[in-house]
């Protein structure tokens, strides 16, 4: 067997993905710090880091969305609508988002995940997409509201995870919006749409299994947020002194209240209740 024809089309292949630190550094570069008084520099930098972390979570690591959300924070002159640097670490919603983003970063710093991310850039995209799955639940509320008007926990399965990854890959399900009038029970009986459903070679079962386990580790972190603080402090201890202080202060902003409840059923389905 020879190499496929298309293999030699490109001398170089780049898969573009930025990591959370890139976003925070970008925000620090975007804000004019020339007029900051020396005595308040630490607090202001910390506030900006917190804003950066929250915006990363809200934008799910998409630069376009990050910029859009950043522009929503400023007025016509480019000044932040909220100038208080402690706001992102004091308002409960922001603290939750801060904790959930720091939790994601704890997972991506774990050795096995880190190695895979460094080895294959597309894998980094799968990891982040998997971890941000919970952010969609977070936005939708504590439980899922069915078309029958009942509340039930969010259910995460391996197949559901693959569908989510496929949706993130295609972005818009090939231009077909989800039909809100179709009941979930009906959609199951429908024949499979080869365009809308992930093909067999998309995210193999082994990778789906691994991603599901990573997601489970993340859910455990969110159930015990103090572990997010601890892991973040451990990470901070490895940094230069100036950065260390900032990261220790960020770790302190994480609330100890569980951010979700979850259980794994006998069918290996994670049942998730978000504590928003």
């Amino acid at each position: 067997m020879t190499n496929p024809v298309f293999k030699t089309f490109y001398n170089h292949r780049v898969f573009l993905i930025y990591h959370p630190d890139d976003y925070r550094n970008y925000l620090l570069g975007m804000v004019d710090q020339d007029s900051w008084p020396g005595s308040e520099r630490f607090g202001l930098t910390l506030g900006l880091m917190a804003w950066g972390t929250i915006l990363v979570y809200q934008s799910r690591l998409v630069p376009f969305d990050f910029n859009r959300r950043l522009k929503a924070l400023v007025d016509a002159n480019g000044a932040f609508l909220n100038q208080n640097p402690t706001l992102p670490m004091s308002r409960s919603l922001y603290r939750q988002q801060l904790a959930m983003q720091l939790g994601i970063e704890v997972i991506t710093r774990e050795r096995d995940v880190k190695e895979r991310i460094e080895e294959t850039p597309i894998f980094a995209q799968y990891i982040y997409d998997t971890l941000y799955l919970l952010s969609f639940y977070h936005e939708r509320g504590t439980r899922e509201l069915t078309l029958e008007g009942q509340h039930k926990p969010f259910a995460v399965t391996r197949e559901g995870l693959r569908n989510h990854l496929w949706y993130r890959t295609k972005g818009d399900l090939n231009g077909k919006p989800r039909d809100p009038n179709v009941k979930p029970s009906e959609s199951k009986t429908k024949p499979r749409d080869p365009k809308a459903d992930p093909p067999a070679d998309f995210v193999s079962p082994e990778i789906a299994e691994y991603l599901f386990k990573v997601l489970k580790r993340y859910m455990e972190l969110l159930y015990y947020p103090t572990r997010i603080s601890e892991e973040t402090r451990t990470y901070a201890s490895e940094l230069p002194p100036a950065d260390r202080r900032l990261w220790l202060a960020l770790a302190d902003a994480v609330d100890s209240q569980p951010l979700l409840n979850f259980s794994i059923t006998s069918q290996e389905t994670a049942s998730v209740v978000s504590n928003t």
Binding site: N11, D32, L44, A79
Partner: protein, 488 residues
Amino acid sequence: MPFSPACQEGPPVSVAYKLRESIAEPLSRQALQHMRALRDQDAPDLAFPHMKSDSLKRVVYELLRYCRGEIDGISVLISGQRGAGKTTLVKLAIQHVMQDSDGLIPLPLMLHGPTIIDPAAIPAAEKKASVAEQKPLAVAADGTPVVVVNTAPTPNETQQAAQADSDKKPKVPEEKERALRQIVTALYRSLSHAIYEAWLHAAAEAPQRRRTHRELLALRAHLDLRLERAPDPDVLRKIWERAGFLTCGVSFYLRPAKKNPVTKSCDRNSRPPAIAGHPSDQGLREIVALASCADAYRVIISKTQETLGRTQLSEYLQERKLSTPQGGDKKPEDGKAKSPAEKAAPPVLGVVSGTLGGLSANFESAALLAGLGTGLLVWLGSWMAMNYGVRTSRQEMRRELTMDIKWDIDRLERDLPMLLKRVKDAGFAPIFVLDELDKAEKATESLHNFLKLTKHIVTDHSAFMFLTNRDYYEDLISGEQLKVGSNQ
């Protein structure tokens, strides 16, 4: 009022968080203007706080090699999810290379990918042709063009239509034709724009300039208008010559102005690098590049016809002595009418000479008659000699060679590598950016079709950047894995 970080939610006490001003998008008008202008040392620098990754460094490294001439072509696939900043990354990389390149100047050509690779992006050919063929045949009194549509074609038109139909038969695949049209258009437009921009700085800085700054700016405006119409080399040569740029050229006045750390002043290295060519014919190379691209561009904007003619004439002269009287087909010079005096001169001379010979010998009448007879004989001999003696004949062979130069899409394909070479000779390194490829129908299939047909151009002669959605990258990876695993 001092700022207090400890205060809780409430009205802002001071503006501490404010986005920087003077943040320009890479390759924006402001960014390019700022990079190239000779600024005061106190002028603030533009900020580019864009996200930077290892991917950016890799792309910059490869493009710098391309501009230094270490590689002739490069093709880079840049994938990422929608909104990941692929276009910004490429623009930022090109801007970095513009700033740092000591070789050729990057010439970015931003192309809309779907227009090139998506068959749905092209309207029906018939519609296009009918619109194109409606040319004004007359002009009304007020100057309005009058289009006369004659539905009954003349026999000559029918023949032309048949010829046109045969010409319409696809010689170049549709994907390739679309790509060539877009690529050549972008190449000519971008080169024209870059040289127009370079003129601005050359008009102010070039030591070889011959005219006042104001005159050079007027000449630049004239150049801009002429470039719209794909000018001939003669036109360009006159403009360059009048400005004094025929040898030094203008291209490298597009290099960035850099602050000198020692003198703290801003200066520009406008000397052409060796990789472009000899410095003393830089201007000529610019004219050659512009004129070549203009020629190719003409194929796209018009139906150009060019006929080259050459005639060879050979002439043979032959002299024959003989014997048959010449016909009436004398050459004009041979058939000139002789005057009566000329016609009468030989016989009269013969008679007179014979008579005088007879008289000198004897005055008797018999002798006189003999003399007259001798004179007549001499005349008769002269006459016969003149009409039946030497004869000149002339043969001619003519050879006319006419060439109808084909200004069609095949020409674009043949000429594109040469165009790219000449653009590089002029000092520019073309970098084609095919953006929005994921917006095309059947993006993977269309892109592969395009690449199969144009790989020799894409990878060997120029830099191409393909910007695609992440699913294309995933298809590529999984396709390789499947084939490896299944022995296909």
